[in-house]
Amino acid sequence: MLRDDVIEYSLDVHHSEEAGRKIRTKILKVTVLLTAITAIEVLLGVYIKQGTLLWPFVKWTFIALTLLKAGYIVLIFMHLGDERKSLKYIILVPYFLFMLYLIFIAFMEALAVGEAWATYGG
């Protein structure tokens, strides 16, 4: 009997020798890049002190570099970049919306609580 409750999909789990070589080159490139970014972050952290004029700039550089690293890990290493668009956005969009909202609300609240501490004391 023909079943109509079985979902069909073909696994994206095989590739040729040649495709493999290309993928390995890509992996190597990303490795070098991630290592370089980490090295830059550490050097910035060691040589530019907190509280100096450059610090706010360095802080945002750290955050930007972190997001860049995260992007490479998720899109290349976790192969999310190779998945179908619908899957990619169903993972990324809700997460980003939620996190941006959480960050916004938490820092707004922190500012208010900080002000309360400053006004009324501990």
Binding site: E8, L11, D12, I27, T66
Partner: protein, 341 residues
């Protein structure tokens, strides 16, 4: 990558039923959903950390001052160790992606090799974190000190070794003139916390009193973390003045002037919450790494037994790989928000 994911399929077919609209297997999709929920957990923890830090009334610790030690080499290497840990985790992520790639070519030997490399990297990372925790809990040789004017300072520099205690007043065990050479640092720190050191004379457990013989400290610098009557926040006090202020406070004979290391109630690095968040977030991440290593080992056994080869594909390796990369991903954020910013 050639496969369903990149193939053009018209919407009517994709969403018409009987076919996965995402062109992935059930297991892989569920792994992604799990990772999103786990990412929300870690995101929530880091946001909570940011909240508390934003609100903290005392100075928050600075990464390169707190984490500046290397195994066997001592202090003076800011951030080098965490950078090394980060590098180890990135490399083990790379070996994992190579294992997945080898799996796509049905190269059983390759998968085995790269899985073993990944597991070794994972163990290295967990070991490193254990060392880091040990160091964090144990603390520095100077600790955080409350100075005479009520300000609090952390100390950088090289602690001059304690050579011995010479007993000047007999107690239950020690006789006058005895020279004690064992367990010096431990005894010293305990007595300092309890306020049992006055003017260079230490009161030992058995009630005897002894004179401390200690080499001079080098490059002593006090960094003020909480302002007092005399010193301002972030002020640096150097050399002889630093030594005078530090030892006046340490040898004052009053209890709890100094904090060594960290626990859940207090730590020498900064506010109480800093220690709590350090333990919770790095601990929770470390637990993830540990579970990841265990899962990798289980999958490696499957690879060696040929389970996946017989199945015709190595998708299980890919799914574990997703988890392992996620652990690396979380560390990238922990590294930034705990150690750098």
């Amino acid at each position: 990558m050639a496969g369903q994911a990149t193939k053009e399929i018209d919407g009517a077919t994709l969403w018409g039923g009987k076919v996965s609209p995402f062109s992935t297997s059930y297991g892989k999709l569920m792994m992604w959903f799990f990772l999103v929920s786990d990412a929300i957990t870690f995101g929530g923890l880091l946001v909570a950390y940011g909240f508390v830090r934003q609100d903290a009334q005392d100075a928050w610790p600075i990464g390169e001052e707190t984490f500046n030690s290397l195994p066997f080499l001592g202090h003076g290497y800011p951030l080098v160790y965490v950078a090394l840990m980060t590098f180890i985790l990135i490399v083990s992520s790379v070996t994992m992606v190579l294992a997945v790639e080898a799996g796509h070519r049905m190269d059983k030997k390759g998968v085995t090799k790269w899985m073993i490399a990944t597991i070794i990297g994972g163990f290295f990372f967990v070991g490193s974190q254990a060392w880091e925790w040990y160091h964090f809990i144990h603390g520095s040789e100077f600790g955080k000190i409350e100075l005479a004017d009520g300000s609090q300072a952390i100390v950088s520099g090289h602690f001059g070794e304690i050579e011995n205690f010479v007993v000047t007043e007999a107690g239950h065990h020690n006789k006058k003139g005895d020279v004690i050479k064992e367990d010096l640092m431990h005894t010293f720190q305990h007595a300092a916390v309890a306020g049992h050191i006055e003017n260079g004379i230490i009161e030992l457990h058995d009630g005897s009193k002894a004179k401390i013989t200690k080499k001079a400290d080098e490059h002593l610098t006090l960094i003020i973390k909480k302002a007092g009557k005399e010193f301002k926040l972030n002020e640096r006090i150097k050399d002889s003045k630093a030594a005078k202020e530090y030892y006046e406070a340490l040898y004052s004979g009053t209890a709890n002037r100094v904090i060594y290391g960290a626990n859940l109630e207090q730590n020498e690095y900064g506010p109480q919450q800093y220690g709590q968040f350090f333990f919770f977030i790095t601990g929770f991440h470390g637990f993830h790494v540990f579970s990841g290593v265990m899962i990798n080992i289980i999958i490696l056994i499957g690879v060696i037994l040929g389970t996946y080869h017989k199945r015709g594909h190595y998708e299980m390796v890919e799914k574990t790989g997703l988890y392992w990369h996620f652990v690396d991903l979380v560390w990238v954020f922990v590294f930034t928000f705990f150690y750098l910013v």
